[in-house]
């Protein structure tokens, strides 16, 4: 028995779901353990099994503080167990352990098709992602005043690292707010998907809803479209004479929120 094989078998035994005090001997691994005192090798192994799953469940609880409240314990605990089994951690850090949960929950049979659940999961993970995002040096709120007029048409923009634009077809953020106050949420479908901006302003994670023209402009700016292109996009909602004013207003708003970076 090499050290490598011992570690592989130990890990397989930890990863197996065995009830405390069970006499099931995973991979005969417990045959390699000493009998000490009143505690059997199976009980000793179960301490590691329980700690493993409990620790990872705590990480999911921490990253998705309101998901469990929305779906209830009977659905939440099996979801956590299924996720832990499907996506064992592969990193020394637990920061990214839950990164696959929003995608996993979309195809997890007991919750598949429950849009509010998938959207709330996505929202909570984005809050977490923005919180941990790399620091960015934001453009000053008077940045636009320093741009010479001949450079405006070609002006393009870069967003801070924690910035995200999301569309939710349910009243997801309202539901999240209600859950965060331990209130029963009223779940409704939006007439049209609502755009949300999530970002980190300094050390604080923020979110706001944005109008449809602003969302389209944000998307285009993220894709690298310049100011002239952005003005053309606004023509869908605004008369030509008001487009520059609207574009300037939105850019100024983004600067004040700290969405744009150097």
């Amino acid at each position: 028995m090499t050290l490598k094989q011992l570690q592989i078998d130990f890990l397989a035994s930890i990863n197996a779901t065995v009830e405390l005090n069970s006499s099931v001997n995973q991979n005969n691994f417990t045959d390699r353990l000493c009998q000490q005192g009143k505690i059997t090798p199976e009980q000793r192994l179960s301490i590691y099994q329980n700690a493993y799953r409990s620790r990872l469940c705590s990480v999911i609880d921490s990253d998705f503080p309101h998901l469990g409240k929305l779906i209830g314990d009977d659905l939440y605990h099996p979801l956590c167990q299924a996720y832990i089994t499907a996506f064992p951690s592969q990193s020394p850090s637990l920061n990214s352990f839950c990164a696959q949960l929003p995608a996993f929950i979309r195809r997890y049979a007991p919750l598949k098709g429950h849009t509010i659940v998938t959207e709330l999961c996505d929202f909570e993970w984005q809050l977490r992602t923005s919180f941990d995002a790399k620091d960015s040096e934001c453009l000053a709120s008077d940045y636009l005043q320093s741009i010479p007029s001949d450079q405006w048409p070609s002006l393009s923009f870069k967003f801070t690292h924690g910035f995200a634009l999301k569309y939710y077809s349910m009243n997801t953020v309202e539901v999240w707010k209600a859950l965060s106050k331990d209130k029963q949420p009223e779940i409704t479908k939006m007439e049209v998907p609502q755009a949300w901006v999530i970002w980190r302003q300094g050390l604080i994670t923020q979110y706001i809803s944005v109008s449809v023209d602003e969302a389209c402009l944000l998307e285009a700016a993220q894709e690298g479209k310049n100011f002239e292109n952005l003005c053309e996009i606004l023509l869908e909602w605004w008369p030509e004479e008001r487009v520059p004013e609207r574009a300037f207003h939105l850019l100024q708003h983004w600067l004040q929120l700290g969405l744009l970076s150097q």
Binding site: Q7, S93, D132
Partner: protein, 290 residues
């Protein structure tokens, strides 16, 4: 010949640094510690909490770095794993070391995963020559990469292997001597293991080399009667404080700190615990000088 490690930290000439009484820095206490500047000699951070791109952790780390000496303590080095060393992790850790300029860098004498599957638990391995040879080689590579010696911590464990053919303290001693690394001796873990594996804890303390012991951890645990779980969610129990006193009498002054990771009390309660540890330290000092 002096290794680069000896040049960095000249412990081998018998001079061991003593930094006094510290606390494991946790986000729950960030603001209070910054606002109150309590009587703490140093802080220990969990390295992995700061291996992030940005945001609050690094902002606060920089605040503390200006105010307190900091030791870096890791849980992700996976020293004893039979996987290849994770060079991406070590590279990030080294960047953090260069940024923090810590008192020292420590991690656990254990493995956390294999075949790229990380359990995030501190897993034991057999105490035998095969394990020693493997761990010594790994520590040497890590120390070369970090360009400084590391401290390895004894872990709490709940099972032992038939393949072991020596005591845990003999195992640690052999690793430290052969790898030329140092010991973060967790007094609570010695007590936990003494109950879980039925040995005399003083034998452990007397069994490790004095010159290698650079730091102590103290923490609380959950006593289930027939076994103990190392939970860090309660005050340090009197039996562990008694063992700490015996450790002090044996090792002399060693930098010591309290780890608290759950069921967080008010900061003043942890500071009171630390004051009690200071008193034990003073008592031993007075006894030894009189």
């Amino acid at each position: 010949m002096l290794s680069p490690l000896d040049k960095q930290l000249p412990y081998s000439n018998g001079h061991k640094p003593f930094h006094g009484f510290g606390l494991g820095l946790r986000p729950e206490y960030y603001q209070e510690i910054l606002d109150q500047r309590p009587n703490l000699d140093w802080l220990e951070i969990i390295s992995e909490n700061y291996l992030v791109d940005g945001g609050k952790p690094l902002y606060f780390l920089d605040q503390f770095k200006e105010r307190y000496p900091i030791a870096m303590h890791g849980v992700g080095m996976n020293i004893a794993s039979t996987d290849s060393l994770n060079l991406d992790y070590l590279s990030e850790l080294k960047k953090l070391v260069n940024h923090v300029k810590p008192l020292w860098v420590s991690d656990h004498c254990c493995w956390t995963g294999v075949n790229s599957h990380n359990t995030h638990d501190l897993l034991p391995l057999p105490f035998n020559e095969e394990s020693i040879k493997h761990i010594v080689s790994r520590i040497q590579q890590i120390q070369d990469y970090l360009e400084q010696p590391i401290l390895i911590e004894n872990l709490s464990s709940y099972l032992s292997f038939k393949a072991s053919d020596m005591h845990e303290w003999e195992f640690l001693t052999a690793i430290c001597e052969e790898a030329d690394c140092y010991l973060l001796l967790d007094i609570n873990n010695i007590y936990v293991n003494s109950r879980n594996h039925n040995f005399e804890p003083l034998s452990y303390i007397q069994g490790v080399p004095k010159k290698r012991v650079i730091q102590h951890h103290l923490a609380g645990h959950s006593d289930h009667g027939d076994y103990i779980i190392d939970t860090h969610d309660a005050p340090v129990v009197p039996s562990v404080l008694t063992l700490y006193k015996q450790a002090l009498e044996h090792f002399g002054p060693v930098s010591v700190m309290i780890e608290r990771d759950d069921n967080f009390p008010a900061l003043k309660e942890l500071l009171s615990e630390l004051d009690a540890i200071r008193e034990i330290f003073s008592d031993v000092q007075n006894e030894q000088t009189s």
